[in-house]
Symmetry: C2
Subunit: 426 residues, 2 copies
């Protein structure tokens, strides 16, 4: 049964979601795009028509919406008869959009955790501060809410679930590694809104180690790995959404997130941070004007969306999992490689938006098909991973695995053999 979709937001991730939803409008129905700036939605739709991405003749509509206005959001959901809402707007909007879904019964999907603009790096687990407070209401109302259904969080959670149910009988550690080995050709730029981007790095870095939350500072802990395709990269222990659900849902003592940064990126970040130019607190100039430094930095940096046409190279995102299988030590790397230029050719966005936007649409398709329409609130690792990973493979995000037996495409048949072996204890 086809289900109408409402996409909230008009940035890079929303654009990818819109393109991909249109490519699957045999399963999904009308595609609605809503943002405070309706011209951005219209321009996404113009791009979709240019590229003729609709699989079947269908409806594409741009809407002006201030998603902080919950009543307006509910009215739009009802008016468009949307049964699935993909929230690809600002992380500051999540709780309002979730409320609109709870009140209208629409399924809710997002790709990043809720944030309060006034708080940076809150007490873990982060999902406990906002999202999970609505779990009981979702359950009672039978509303499906899939939290963090991008790539990281999202696909990396499914990779963890995949490993936990088959390739391992005991997992000792999950290290999620995210490397953008691409180049935008500018002196310096962030890949998404600088205000959100820098927030990830200015507070405490929380990781799950020895079954408890451990605090570090950014760039304090690093590792170097020889990764498939992209080669050797140094990554840094970083606070990230998925740790805050995986630590609760899986019985794994060490779960860490590692993000790759060039020395140049770290240098520029450090200079700006040390000088106080990443602060959200206003300073007063000699002329008596109040200025928020971070807002000026945002104004002088390139608009992230403007980087896409020139982006070259690839991204690597994967889970490095260590543990035992039938008592034997095992190491498994489950990962995806995406290409910036290929992503741009298909969706007019670079691979960072692509890897976040495609999984959200895959989740919507699985909800529409019933496989993930669970009628309660879940994080991705609580849902069956194989249909998701298989579907993503067909949608442009293929999964590969590397272990002692070599590097190969993910094979569901192999997975089923592993799972059977794990269950029989063989």
């Amino acid at each position: 049964m086809k289900k109408n979709v409402l996409i909230i937001g008009a940035g890079g991730v929303a654009q990818v979601a819109a393109f991909k939803a249109a490519m699957h409008n045999d399963v999904l129905g009308d595609i609605n795009i809503a943002s405070r700036t309706v011209s951005k939605c219209q321009s996404i739709i113009a791009g979709m028509l240019d590229k003729k991405v609709l699989k079947r003749p269908g409806i594409l509509v741009a809407h002006e919406l201030d998603a902080t206005d919950i009543e307006a959001t509910k009215a739009l959901i009802r008016r468009t008869r949307s049964q699935i809402v993909i929230n690809a707007g600002s992380a500051f909007l999540n709780m309002g959009v979730l409320r609109a879904c709870l009140d209208t019964g629409a399924a809710y999907i997002d790709t990043a955790i809720h944030e309060d603009p006034a708080k940076v790096c809150e007490t873990p687990p982060w999902y406990g501060n906002y999202e999970w407070k609505h779990r009981e209401e979702c359950e009672r109302k039978g509303v499906t809410a899939v939290l963090g259904a991008g790539f990281d969080p999202g696909v990396v959670n499914a990779y963890a679930a995949l490993a936990a149910g088959s390739y391992f009988d005991r997992i000792d550690s999950i290290d999620i590694i995210d490397v953008n080995a691409g180049s935008h050709g500018r002196y310096f730029a962030t890949n998404f809104d600088p205000e959100i981007n820098f927030r990830e790095f200015t507070g405490t870095v929380w990781s799950w180690q020895g079954r408890q939350w451990t605090g570090n500072t950014m760039f304090e802990v690093k590792r170097t790995d020889d990764l498939p395709v992209v080669g050797t990269h140094t990554t840094y222990l970083t606070g990230h959404d998925e740790l805050h659900s995986l630590s609760a849902n899986l019985d794994v003592p060490d779960i860490r997130f590692w993000m790759g940064f060039s020395e140049h990126y770290i240098n520029v970040f450090t200079v700006l941070n040390k000088l106080g130019l990443l602060s959200e607190k206003p300073v007063t100039t000699a002329e008596g004007d109040e200025v928020v430094p971070l807002k000026l930095v945002k104004a002088v940096l390139p608009d992230p969306v403007s980087l896409a046409p020139d982006y070259t190279g690839k991204t690597f995102i994967g889970d490095l999992i260590r543990g035992t299988h039938n008592g034997v030590e095992r190491e498994l790397l489950v990962y995806n490689i995406s290409d910036h230029e290929e992503a741009f050719a298909e969706t007019s966005s670079q691979a960072i938006s692509y890897t976040a936007g495609v999984p959200a649409v895959a989740a919507a398709i699985l909800i529409a098909r019933g496989e993930w329409d669970c009628h309660h609130m879940v994080n991705v690792e609580e849902l069956p991973p194989v249909p998701f990973i298989e579907l993503l493979g067909r949608m442009g995000l293929p999964t590969r695995i590397r272990d002692a037996r070599g590097d190969r495409a993910f094979d569901p048949a192999e997975f089923r053999r592993e799972r059977k072996a794990a269950r029989s204890g063989a």
Copy 2:
């Protein structure tokens, strides 16, 4: 005859000038300090009284003055019966203060070249754009105007004049080297107003090479020298005032200015400059506010005056001169070493303000004594260097020389022997 002094400005250089003028109020008369913010002048005077710096009982007065108001400046000169004006205010004020001196007959002294706020690094020679346009009027009215009487420009010009008249019969090159080997203990700070400081480095670097103006970019050309006391330092070809008069007044094919910067300083400067954060042109934030990036950077950096109490280490400023003496190749280094903590103990300012402020007062004393009261407009190299250098030695800025015969204090008797030998061609 005692001459009353009006000091314009209330920053670090003005403070040193006020302290030093008070220490010589047997030659100078009343000491007047004028600034837009009269409380800064009052606080300088309070510091002078605390340190009991007046040599004899005398008059110290703080005045509120907007020195862009020429009529107000003239009125203050007349009311205070000032015969010497030391302009230690912003480089943007020079031409207005000079006009006030031309109209009242007071002698004019400054320590830095005039700048137009709207222009960065104008066509050389810089003095030709503003100051020298008033040469004829100074001559006609008999007004003494000593341009650039700080350390650099100033004392380094006197060092060049010293060498040209005695130690050399032909000079091939003068390399002026300025190294602050001190530490303020902060992550990053400029030693004077960031708005003026960064202007020196964002435009074309002009140097005098092969008897013509040569353009480079900042940090493009560097040299490394083993310098007395401060040791080995890398310095960078930098545009600077004194080149623009020495090239006209001395017959020397190569005259260059080299300033020392740590790699850390260059890194921070480069990041800010590349991101556009040193721009004086306003940018518009996402919220629609207009912000001048450089004014925000100034607001987040430490106030230069606040650095003085914690400053440690020394400064080196000198002229490395190469040429021939009676046909024999010769190399001579004429230099001063100043100590930040000693400067602070004496004048509550660090050595960078000290080295700029003391020579301006020495020039005022020489004008009061008649030795430099030349009744026209000059740059320092046009005046007799020895009385200046000798006086500076007694005022806290001793000169040393280093050549093939070793490193020693400057000795006027040696200078006279050299000059005699040069004149006789021996």
